[in-house]
């Protein structure tokens, strides 16, 4: 008997946490999205789909969805291309490669908030080196953090930089798992190095790339909150307010709980689709590590 319940006992702590702090809030989110809450938070009124209706007809919400889409697309594609290039370099057998790897992996340890303050400094008008560089090169001194679309670009740069370490580590692990013999065979058949990259490396990296896309999209969409909060606080004129930033503002600045819950429901549904795609197409990527 004791033997039978043993595995369940092992699971108890994990499931207590998961049920109370993930399942129950998920249930509450769905429930609250159909209610309006009185200003003092003590009464609930059932309003049906009204929160969703005001959500999808809200210009600000649509704008924030578009901002998120642009921000995530550019950041993920740009970040992965740069990371793949770096990983190819780091896969070369040249002296001191171990040191280069350690140094280029390092941004992994940097938090989104730290990335935010660092780039806010580099892009600041007087003390910032990037601004100064722009003045020398282009005779222009743009106000990075207070004009559109530069503020969004600034956050993209900080996020891409912060994500480099993680992406490079994965791409490099992927590159190292490709058998050397494939390249040798291709060389004998007369393939040049560009052919080899296009025909061998990139196709064989596709499971890892898929995995990295999924992870990057989630990190970029959500973790960039800290970078945004430190650099622009959603401004100028909400042009850097992504979906998660807007959720925070509606929930904790404007105290519009019902509306915020409807926003949460949309995010949960997006993540559910993501989870589905991930397990349908991406499982291999993880378990081949």
């Amino acid at each position: 008997m004791a033997k039978k319940i043993f595995p369940y006992l092992l699971l108890v702590p994990t499931f207590i946490i998961i049920v109370i702090f993930i399942y129950y809030p998920a249930f509450q989110t769905f429930k609250l999205s159909f209610y309006k809450i009185s200003p003092f938070g003590n009464r609930l009124f059932f309003v049906g789909f009204q929160n969703f209706w005001s959500l999808f007809t809200s210009g600000q919400y649509i704008q924030s969805a578009l901002t998120t889409l642009i921000f995530v697309t550019v950041t993920v594609i740009g970040g992965l291309v740069i990371s793949l290039f770096l990983a190819l370099l780091l896969n070369e057998k040249v002296p001191g490669i171990g040191i280069f790897r350690t140094l280029i992996f390092a941004p992994y340890a940097i938090s989104p908030a730290v990335a935010g303050t660092l780039w806010a400094f580099l892009l600041s008008p007087v003390a910032g080196y990037v601004s100064y560089l722009f003045l020398i090169l282009f005779k222009a001194q743009p106000q990075w953090l207070t004009t559109y679309p530069l503020a969004l670009i600034a956050i993209m740069i900080a996020t891409i930089w912060k994500n480099l370490g993680f992406n490079v580590i994965f791409f490099l692990a992927g590159l190292q798992s490709i058998p050397q013999s494939y390249y040798e065979a291709a060389t004998i058949d007369g393939a040049n190095s560009f052919d080899r990259l296009l025909r061998i490396t990139i196709p064989l990296l596709s499971p890892i790339t898929f995995y990295l896309i999924v992870m990057n999209v989630t990190f970029t969409a959500f973790s960039a909150f800290a970078t945004i909060d430190v650099m622009t606080q959603g401004g100028p004129a909400n042009t850097t307010s992504t979906l998660i930033y807007k959720l925070y503002q509606d929930g904790f600045v404007n105290f519009n709980t019902g509306f915020a819950s409807a926003e949460s429901v949309v995010l949960i549904l997006i993540m559910a689709v993501f989870t589905y795609l991930y397990f349908k197409f991406g499982q291999k990527a993880v378990f081949y590590q």
Binding site: P13, T102, P112, M215, V230
Partner: protein, 278 residues
């Protein structure tokens, strides 16, 4: 001729590597030099790269202006507790899924799996905050740690790892009369040291770098965390004294960066096996 070509290639790659490494690390380097500049030097135009002074006072100012010592202590407590919880509970639940056949195991496994992409502290933050209110946990260490004590990610990683350990060991232990708990503690865990180490380090960094949750769940400079301190610092130093802000930034970054360099092997192993970030 062929050797020459190879040498040139090596030199080119080496040069390119040095170039990209400098570019990538330049923000950190410039932060260090800025953190050593006197206030009068911060806005010297054009900006100088190397400071004329070695103005350690910036670090003291960062500590004093936002209570950074306390905030870093809070982050440390939070990160250690979350790291311990996630790792220990992950080992236990991973062990259940890897070494036991029991009724409902695949259902429970699926129930855990779907939470993988459900960061409640982000996308369900409103109801999660309400739970904290009803537990009277707002502005306490409970709120900062308890919701993060277990996760699907660590469970899966430990399960995957335990499944690679030969079944014969378990059978041998059984014959020797060792119960399942003793097998876990005396055989499985010692055999999994580097995986567990990697996961623990990753979980520490994850917790240290949390931002949105500490932002909403704490409301005093006694209970906030180091990451939130950066926002406070930028607000307090409203004249943009970048020297002080960079000093603070570097101190908040230091623990994870030092940890990264100290245990890089474990770290990279942890990242590649968990795929976990933030």
């Amino acid at each position: 001729m062929k050797n020459n070509k190879k040498l040139i290639r090596t030199i080119l790659i080496e040069a390119l590597l040095i170039f990209v490494t400098i570019i990538i690390l330049l923000p950190l380097f410039l932060a260090v030099t800025m953190s050593l500049k006197k206030p009068s030097e911060v806005f010297v135009y054009p900006p100088t790269i190397f400071p004329n002074s070695f103005y350690i006072q910036n670090y003291v100012s960062a500590f004093n202006s936002i209570n950074l010592g306390r905030l870093m202590l809070n982050s440390l407590i939070m990160s250690i507790v979350i790291m311990a919880g996630k790792t220990i509970f992950g080992i236990l639940s991973g062990y259940a899924f890897s070494n036991f056949k029991f009724k409902g195991s695949s259902l429970l496994f699926a129930a855990l799996f779907v939470t993988l992409f459900m960061p409640a502290e982000l996308i369900m933050i409103v109801p999660l905050f309400q739970i904290m209110q009803s537990l009277h946990w707002v502005n306490t260490y409970w709120a900062l740690t308890v919701p993060f004590l277990a996760s699907a990610t660590t469970t899966f990683l430990m399960r995957q790892h335990f499944m690679t350990i030969p079944k014969e060991l378990e059978d041998a232990a059984k014959i020797d009369g060792a119960g399942p708990m003793r097998f876990l503690l005396e055989i499985l865990i010692p055999l999994s040291k580097s995986t567990i180490g990697g996961v623990a380090v990753i979980n520490f960094v994850y917790a240290w770098n949390l931002y949105l949750w500490p932002l909403v769940v704490t409301n005093s400079n006694e209970m906030a965390t180091a990451q939130i301190g950066l926002k406070m610092l930028t607000n307090v130093e409203s004249t943009s004294n970048w020297g002080v802000i960079m000093a603070g930034t570097l101190m908040v970054l230091a623990p994870t960066l030092i940890l990264f360099f100290a245990v890089q092997k474990l770290f990279v192993r942890g990242i590649v096996t968990t795929g976990l970030k933030e």
